[in-house]
Amino acid sequence: MRVGVVTFPGTLDDQDAARAVRLAGAEAVPLWHADHDLRGVDAVFLPGGFSYGDYLRCGAISRFAPLMEELIPAAKAGLPVLGTCNGFQILCEAHLLPGALTRNAGLHYLCRDQGIRVENNATAWTGQFDQGQEILLPIKHGEGRYVADAATLAELERAGRVVFRYTGGNPNGSLNDIAGICNEAGNVVGLMPHPEHAVEELTGAPSVDGRGFFTSILKKLVTA
């Protein structure tokens, strides 16, 4: 199984993401923002960082990268895609996910361990979690406040597309405590927390709960 990990100028978490993919037993395939080539991967991980320096808006310029011209139609056709942090912001700017990520309500950049509840374990990236399972992942962001208009929010809630919710207090003012959402088909998932930083005790991670994302997609691909 081959999972692509995308690098934009300013991406920070691609090495951790690739390592997490390898730990789960898959091949991590580097994908370069300037290439029109998905290299035949079975799934794609959009890691966090500050792509294009967060200029204009987070993810606003990355969304038009040559690689995204390939990724957007592929994701719409069912290719599993996970975006974390800046990756989530890019997915929203690309309109693969609804809504937007705005400046944290408290204006502070947040870097801490955060409780999250898995609200939907039927997506391509959450199948190995229990419905309602509480997990602990690092967050590190300045623009993580999820917003969408009332109709979009109601539809996300109705359809079970709120995949993750913050527990133990809302860190950034996200509407409905939303930490992550998915598209209608459940193949595209975005969240602000960082599963790729929580796969090994050696690195001082608060948990190894992040492994579940990678075992989920592998199980999904193997049984597909």
């Binding site: 204009l56 705005t102 400046r103 309500a105 204006l107 917003v147 969408a148 003012g173």
Partner: protein, 83 residues
């Protein structure tokens, strides 16, 4: 020569914590006449010649596509002609 000015503002219903922080700073600096502050962005698009229907339409497309995220932001265009 003309210049198209694009003003981008967060929609009124979207929280603007930066504007709020500025508003809170004003009384500390001795300014007492301001009730609220919203922060936005201004872009200046320089045109090689005078503004036409076509260049204005293109500027609008640029604003919609890249300069503003219409999920959370409104934009407004106007033209400045060089004196």
């Amino acid at each position: 020569m003309a210049r198209v000015i694009v003003d981008v503002m967060l929609k009124p219903e979207i929280l603007d914590p930066q504007g709020q922080a500025i508003a809170r700073a004003l009384p500390r600096l001795g300014f007492s006449s301001v009730a609220d502050v919203r922060q936005g962005k201004r872009f200046e698009l320089e045109l090689p010649g005078p503004a036409t229907e076509e260049t204005l339409a293109e500027a609008r497309k640029i604003a919609e596509t890249l300069l503003a995220n219409t999920v959370i932001e409104d934009f407004h265009l106007h033209i400045e002609e060089d004196a």
